[in-house]
């Protein structure tokens, strides 16, 4: 899938957990992505992250590193 779309989706998830403390926010986002994304989508996101980290928000960076 197109990396830009995956990034947008992931950032949206992160943003909607933004009211939580950092640790909870990170974990909630990880859980959400694992529950609802296919393995291929997760793999594509990580792949994009490896070459495009600068486009990721600090909050999402924490998430992608732990997926």
């Amino acid at each position: 899938m197109e990396a830009n779309k995956l990034l947008l989706m992931a950032e949206n998830i992160c943003a909607n957990f933004s009211a939580y403390p950092e640790e909870q926010r990170t974990q909630q986002t990880i859980t959400h992505i694992e529950q609802f994304w296919t393995p291929a989508m997760r793999k594509d996101l990580k792949s994009d992250f490896s070459t495009n980290e600068q486009a990721y928000s600090p909050a999402l960076k924490l998430v992608v590193k732990k997926i």
Partner: protein, 945 residues
């Protein structure tokens, strides 16, 4: 003492023929049932009868099997007492009284038959018949006419009055496409007027003038088609003669048989009697036994079913190698083999994950269950999704997170106990009309109303209804408004502390409390960008928290946003905060758009969940299903619908089996959808018609309408109701049989002989459905899940003593503005909705006479915005978004605030979904249909295309 004539001493009375007062078994108790718990004992014709205090004598008689003649009385409306046919004598009245509007009393003695009463009744009937056409043999109501029945019941054999001034030559109004009004046959019983007032709540009819000049008048001396009449059919249903009569009955005659079934339109799930004569459906009449609708209907369910026999129904399977080729009609076997070979080849070449399925909320539970089973077991992946993805998937997510169950909490009847009703992003009088009428009844009784909607929907102000608070928020700010309401409640200490302590997770509540108290959630802060008066937010919050039992109903104006799921959770937070959960009159209630949204979700049509909302990673469930289905099942979620389209464009997704859904018209950014469908190598469409999506299909399986198959639908109340086969499938196979045969062709055997066996399997494998069976549904008409050993008769109200999840879970709902913003180039926000006479993308309703009311989508624009663009009513305008542009006609109206425009999406010509963006709910990918930044410009060149 009273002079009471005793029936047993007189053998000259006309015996009432009880058979004649019941057409096809429709029992009418004359007056509505009292809601009292008190029981009264009385004697009727020497028979001791017990009935509810507050019931009429007429009702008590009929309950006891003693049938009285009646004309103006019917149990759907309050007693009127005009015809006097139901007169009786009692020991408590000096003169005969109308039994319909005389209440029972303890110790009352009633006599229903005597010479005196017989004479009075015959005299009344004689007067009626003296001014009524004597054309019974050729009258369309012959066999279903209460006037004719009553004439027989009272033994009327002659009319002594000669010719004189009468109403026999009054003109017939045939303007309504579905029924006629023949004033010459009207007996002025007022049943139609009362039905319009009391049941429907439109107040479109009146009896104008007085005495001999009295007549039923729609609106202000208008024809039915030009009046405020909404064609719900309540008046036709109530009419005891052929004065108001369905045109289908006039054309085909009265029915010979009937079966109860469930409407295939919105999520109210009305029960109807499908009256038919062999393969010819005569009419659909709302069933009083239907617990969702209790005898009421709307124009769609009552009349707009003729699409089922539309001439452009496809009844032969079609195949083609390329979407640019002509369709080739083939046998069913050839179509199944062709489709199965294509899918098998694709998987062999591109891997197991390259295909998937889409089921629809128009499908039955059994069909949906089979499609998800086919996908998981036959295709070997979890790439199954449903059109609920694009409407109520946020409901599933939000309510599961907070309450533990992806469903509404109440039954519809519960609103009759509400003191405050709040509608958020829902327009029930158009989209869920039968529930809308029920709500209006409660509002007329005095319940308070809050409407949260950018548009002045009908409920904001209509006949005898006025919202106490209307919050005309800027589209996209639902979460902010709800957070602000919660902020007000907390700041003013209006929360239900006992409920919070007993029913909710205390740590989560404390975290939420800290969040909601922040000043960014105050009405003053929110008002800046939601563009509403903070005082209105404050007043609405106080009313919701302090007004008594408060219920929230919401629709797609909540879910179809980038924060749809957050809004659902914010609603749940609000309900928990105020203790408005777990009893009559309260709750959180999604108004599902289509007939089986709830059921489609229940049946496991999401890519991450098995039936019963159990995640695919749940080892216990997966192991059980794998054993039962004899298949290896994946533990990882599959692709969602929009992800399938994205994957198709990326070249990874090659084939799709689409049942009952038309994403090329109904999904957002349809140009993107078309590109995705074009990129696939095998698209299979199963539908009634060659829809927009079929343009991109390689295989077409002709579908069967809801009248042609057995099954069940589950409505917005979690109510499972039977769909019953009335006529044979036009294409020879019911939809469930098609899916089964396709599965067999794919090499995965399915051998159900009837949909009841599919439901038995669902019940065996799904804890919340374990007691559901067709036998139970036949016995009870319907049941609400959970229906299992704990709740053998179903569950009308959820979360009574505790939440399904245990303690209620407060979720932090940060307001995150949508990325779709208005600006210099696209200064207006477009939001969309439905109109009463049309349904979704119009596939069904556009093929009926409903298009007489709405034959094109119209843009509503505020007069200020219209004026600044030089737009007058009826002008053609261009509607441009960042994605695409379309054109339609406009009207200026202050129903819509400045800066916002609104239209419907029922007609493909208007291409409204061409311009909606691909932005979607963060949690579920439900598209953000309700917010699209647009520009509107007048088109000076006249155009009708």
């Amino acid at each position: 003492m009273l002079n009471i004539e005793r029936g047993e001493n007189n053998n000259q009375f006309v015996e009432l023929n009880t058979e004649s007062v019941s057409y096809l078994g429709n029992m009418d108790y004359g007056t509505p049932e009292s809601t009292s718990d008190e029981i009264v004992s009385l004697v009727i014709d020497n028979k001791t009868v017990r009935t509810k205090a507050g019931n009429s004598i007429l009702r008590a008689c009929i309950e006891a099997g003693i049938h009285l003649p009646k004309l103006c009385a019917t149990d759907s409306v309050n007693a009127f007492g005009s015809c006097r046919l139901c007169i009786v004598t009692t020991n408590m009245h000096r003169k005969p009284v109308a039994s319909c509007h005389t209440l029972v009393a303890e110790g009352m003695e009633v006599v229903t038959q005597s010479n005196k009463l017989a004479k009075l009744r015959k005299g009344i009937m004689e007067l009626y018949i003296s001014d009524h056409p004597l054309d019974c043999l050729t009258c369309p109501a012959n066999g279903d006419c209460e006037l004719e029945d009553m004439a027989g019941v009272v033994g009327l054999r002659e009319v002594r009055y000669g010719e004189g001034e009468n109403h026999l030559k009054l003109k017939k109004d045939t303007s309504n496409p579905y029924f006629t009004y023949d004033a010459s046959k009207c007996i002025l019983c007022s049943r139609c007027v009362r039905a319009c007032d009391e049941v429907q709540g439109t107040f479109a009819l009146t009896i104008e003038k007085r005495g001999f000049d009295s007549k039923v008048s729609p609106s202000d001396h208008q024809s039915f088609i030009d009046s405020e009449c909404v064609s719900c059919g309540a008046c036709v249903q109530a009419c005891p003669t052929a004065s108001l009569m369905e045109k289908s009955v006039i054309e085909f005659g009265v029915a010979e048989d009937k079966k109860m079934t469930t409407c295939a339109y919105c999520g109210v799930g009305c029960s109807f009697w499908a009256e038919h004569k062999g393969e010819q459906v005569i009419r659909m009449t709302p069933a009083k036994q239907g617990k969702a609708n209790e005898g009421h209907s709307c124009v769609k369910g009552r009349f707009a079913w003729t699409y089922a026999t539309s001439e452009d129904r496809i009844t032969t399977p079609l195949i083609r190698d390329n979407i640019n080729d002509e369709w080739k009609p083939v046998s069913w076997d050839e179509a199944f083999t062709f489709a199965a070979n294509k899918f098998k080849e694709l998987q062999k070449k591109h891997g197991i994950d390259c295909i998937g399925s889409i089921t629809s909320s128009r499908c039955t539970n059994e069909e949906t269950y089979l499609i998800q089973k086919l996908t998981r077991a036959a295709m070997g992946n979890n790439n199954v999704d449903t059109c609920a993805r694009v409407c109520h998937s946020p409901t599933g997510y939000g309510l599961k997170k907070t309450f533990g169950t992806s469903a509404g909490t109440q039954n519809f009847k519960s609103v009759g106990e509400s003191d405050v009703v709040m509608f958020i992003g829902a327009n029930p009088t158009d989209a869920h009309p039968v529930f809308g009428s029920r709500v209006k009844q409660r509002l007329r009784q005095g319940a308070k109303l809050i409407v949260v909607d950018p548009r002045k929907i009908d409920l904001v102000q209509s006949a005898h209804i006025k919202a106490d608070h209307h919050i005309p928020l800027k589209p996209g700010t639902n979460v902010a408004i709800l957070n602000a309401m919660a902020h007000v409640i907390v700041k003013n200490n209006l929360q239900d502390q006992n409920f919070l302590e007993e029913r909710c997770d205390s740590q989560l509540y404390q975290n939420w409390l800290e969040f909601i108290k922040q000043s960014k959630n105050s009405p003053e802060a929110v008002a800046q960008y939601a563009q509403v008066d903070p005082q209105v937010i404050y007043d609405a919050a106080v009313l919701y928290a302090t007004g008594g039992k408060a219920a929230i109903y919401y629709g797609l104006g909540v879910t179809e946003h980038s924060q749809g799921s957050s809004t659902v959770m914010a609603i749940a937070n609000l309900a928990m905060l105020t203790g408005n959960i777990g009893k009559e009159g309260v709750g959180v209630n999604p108004l599902r758009g289509q007939n089986n949204v709830q059921g489609a979700c229940d049946m496991g049509s999401f890519p991450h969940e098995f039936p019963g909302y159990r995640h695919v990673s749940d080892d216990k469930t997966r192991t059980q299903l794998a054993k039962e289905w004899q298949a290896d099942l994946r533990s990882e979620p599959g692709l969602r619908l929009p992800n399938m389209f994205d994957a198709a464009i990326a070249g990874d997704f090659k084939g799709m089996y689409i049942h009952g859904e038309d994403p090329a018209q109904s999904d957002p950014n349809t140009l993107h959808v078309a590109e995705a469908l074009s990129a696939m190598e095998c698209v299979i469409v199963q539908d009634l018609f060659l829809n927009e999506t079929a343009k991109y299909a390689h295989v077409f399986f002709p579908g069967s309408s809801f009248l042609e198959k057995d099954g069940t639908f589950t409505n917005a109340e979690r109510r499972i109701s039977r769909v019953r086969k009335i006529t044979n499938p036009l294409a020879g196979m019911a939809d469930w049989e098609v899916t089964q045969a396709f599965s067999n062709a794919l090499g995965y055997p399915m051998n159900y002989s009837h949909p009841s066996e599919i439901m038995d399997e669902v019940a065996r494998l799904t804890p919340t459905f374990s007691n559901v069976s067709y036998q139970l549904l036949d016995e009870k008409t319907s049941v609400q899940w959970p229906c299992n050993d704990e709740n053998p008769d179903g569950t009308p109200l959820m979360h009574m003593d505790k939440f399904v999840i245990g303690k209620g879970q407060f979720m932090l709902t940060e307001y995150v503005p949508t990325l779709e913003k208005s600006g210099a180039k696209f200064p207006l926000l477009l939001t969309t909705g439905r109109i009463l006479s049309q349904y979704n993308v119009g596939t069904q309703t556009r093929r009926t006479e409903n298009s007489q009311w709405h034959n094109e989508d119209i843009l509503e624009i505020n007069p200020t915005d219209a004026e600044s663009r030089g737009i007058s009513d009826g002008d053609w305008i261009s509607l441009d978004s960042r994605v695409a542009k379309t054109k339609l006609r406009a009207i200026a109206t202050d129903r819509i605030p400045p800066g916002v425009v609104y239209t419907t999406f029922h007609h493909p010509d208007s291409g409204v979904n061409v311009i909606t963006t691909e932005l979607s709910d963060w949690a579920t990918n439900c598209p953000e249909y309700k917010v699209t930044a647009v520009q509107v410009n007048k088109l000076y060149e006249s155009s009708t295309t």
